[in-house]
Symmetry: C2
Subunit: 374 residues, 2 copies
């Protein structure tokens, strides 16, 4: 159920109740502006992925800096975005089930929305919902860009599916969805570049087949925070779907650049603020943030700005900090900023972003799509 | 933010929107009754841990079968329980921060509540809050029962802290909290028994020291689903705090009994219902439940009742199922029940339990303490 906000605007950071999800507004805005700069002049548009930030308040900041819309994974996320005032939303995923497809169709009356399909059955179900509601719906074909998860085989099979969409009475073919999720965290730039070249080749094969069928394709959308520069360089993508770039996390910080150093394009803007709640034993302090507060699917969180402290174990409600001999010992009640291992699922644990700037709470933004998994 | 329920009472299970958290009511009630039987005649009372189930609706079922109260880890969970009509709640953990302690103190006007401390600083803070509100608060001493996380050293140091509580103007010494979390999932019964014997020894040392100080100790509380039979056998515990027993999960199913077989005391009652949303490639089907829907901190979920299917990979919103050659191929739209790797954090992802019995939806119970981490 909805939780009360952990802070009040104007409070000092050390007065925030914990665990709380902090957004460092200077770093966040730096990241938004940096992405705008990186895309300037490329001809490629930004469609940030709201599965990471889950909040129309964040989406509006992105839109104000030129984003063309948002993408989401779930219809419930699309609803949160549209109801929060975002007028252009792509469900970058297949949706199955009559209830869900009907909800998507209903959204198309309120905003410019699109959805993906990777099989004829998906297309038939969307066509049925569109006919039932007397609507025209826009459908992209998702191709397998190398991730071997969702997506139809690229080339002729994908083009045949696009033709099926184009020939459906209530559907419009909206382009290609081509995202390679597991490529985002390949550590070496050459690995990421090679993975995205596989995806770009899949796109080119499909564009060639679409041309043979005389099917125009104005949108090729995909790419994430770890790889978007390679999608841009490929020349075939018209949109990139980076989401984490505005928040960042410990896992992205392990990606390396061509000099073998951590990629430093974006700044860490997302933190979980925690409190030392027990310090009964020498060498160990216990935080009030375990893996219910900061997910560990991509590794343990890091301690921000305190190199002598290490988060060594997460249980449901406790995080164990170890510290070296000679370190300043964490005291009971001390607040510690954690860098989440993975931003997306950690954000999805919270109802509120606490925006902080220069040590004060400046904003409380609702995470409207928290838990929106259907 | 709060999500709408995924079902309507009376629906068939295959009509439930997914991902959804299912409670198999026959198995759930079996588990509740089984625990009542196991405790009958032992003189040990049940104080189930609401950090697992997060719902007053579940708590009331437990209370109706004789539970003495509930325990929780967080003040926000205590609030959800008290506001949901549970009149006896132990915060089985330290609480730090003036705001939180004041919220706990306020709850004591509405219900019989208690809290833990493992240092003089905790005691001072609770005394200050009690004095400020002109209340008397009940405080247990948490001792380290072998988990090496929270808890003061057992024996004389713990007894000194108890005396400090008893001598505080606004506090009552409420007994000992002695829980060994990591013992719950030791696979062999001899390992679990040995771990709990360490905890029981710590309790005995502390009871001896309390006796020397003429401090009566009427409550010794602790124990979980994996070990409660050993806490009972020790003769020193007056309450057990099992929580998972009513739900169960894949990790508990890996605990072995003395015959080397999986412990079968309780039945699997908790499931995540998911849908096959893409089946574009041979040998693989993709579910709509990734680790945002079923946490993987204690391993991947298992597929229920379909031995030919294996959940082999979880990403944020996708679960990848593999199936063997010759298996019945999962079809697009097929519903699949998953057994969560770990029940507690998975429950904490959802706003509703969908109670099912013999294939129909019978109840929708709000998970009032979902996200209650402060």
């Amino acid at each position: 159920m909805l939780q009360a906000p952990p802070a009040i605007v104007g409070q000092r950071e050390d007065e925030i109740d914990t665990p709380a999800l902090l957004l460092d507004l200077d770093a966040f805005e730096y990241n938004l502006d940096r992405m705008t700069q990186l895309l300037a002049g490329t001809g490629v548009r930004l469609r940030p992925h709201a599965k990471a930030h889950k909040s129309p308040a964040v989406a509006h900041q992105q839109m104000a800096r030129g984003a063309v819309g948002q993408c989401v994974q779930k219809v419930a996320e699309a609803e949160a975005m549209v109801w929060g005032g975002i007028r252009n939303v792509l469900v970058s995923n297949e949706v199955v089930g009559a209830t869900k497809v009907a909800r998507f169709a209903a959204l198309s009356k309120e905003a410019d929305v699109a959805i993906c399909a990777d099989s004829e059955e998906h297309v038939s179900a969307i066509e049925a919902a569109a006919a039932d509601a007397s609507l025209r719906l826009r459908v992209l074909v998702e191709i397998d860009a190398g991730g071997a998860r969702c997506g139809i085989e690229s080339g002729e099979r994908a083009a045949l599916l696009a033709r099926r969409i184009a020939q459906s009475a209530h559907l419009t073919f909206g382009g290609l969805q081509a995202y390679h999720g597991s490529a985002q965290h390949l550590r070496l730039p050459a690995e990421r570049a090679a993975a995205i070249e596989i995806g770009a080749t899949a796109v080119r094969r499909t564009l060639d087949a679409l041309a043979r069928f005389d099917l125009p394709c104005s949108v090729v959308t995909g790419g994430g925070t770890g790889t978007f520069e390679y999608e841009i360089a490929s020349g075939v993508y018209t949109e990139i779907q980076a989401g984490s770039y505005c928040l960042m996390d410990a896992d992205y910080a392990r990606n390396l650049d061509t000099n073998g150093k951590p990629v430093s394009t974006f700044r860490q803007a997302l933190f979980v603020l925690s409190t030392v709640m027990s310090a009964a034993r020498t060498g160990v302090a216990v935080l009030d943030a375990g893996h219910k507060a900061v997910t560990i699917d991509s590794g343990l969180p890091l301690v921000w700005d305190r190199p002598e402290l290490t988060y060594v174990d997460a249980s449901d409600e406790h995080g164990t900090l170890s510290y070296s001999a000679g370190a300043r010992v964490p005291y009971l009640g001390e607040k510690v900023r954690l860098v989440p291992g993975h931003c997306d699922p950690t954000v999805d644990r919270y109802d509120w972003y606490v925006g902080v700037r220069r040590g004060r709470v400046e904003s409380l933004w609702p995470i409207a799509a928290r838990g929106a998994m259907r």
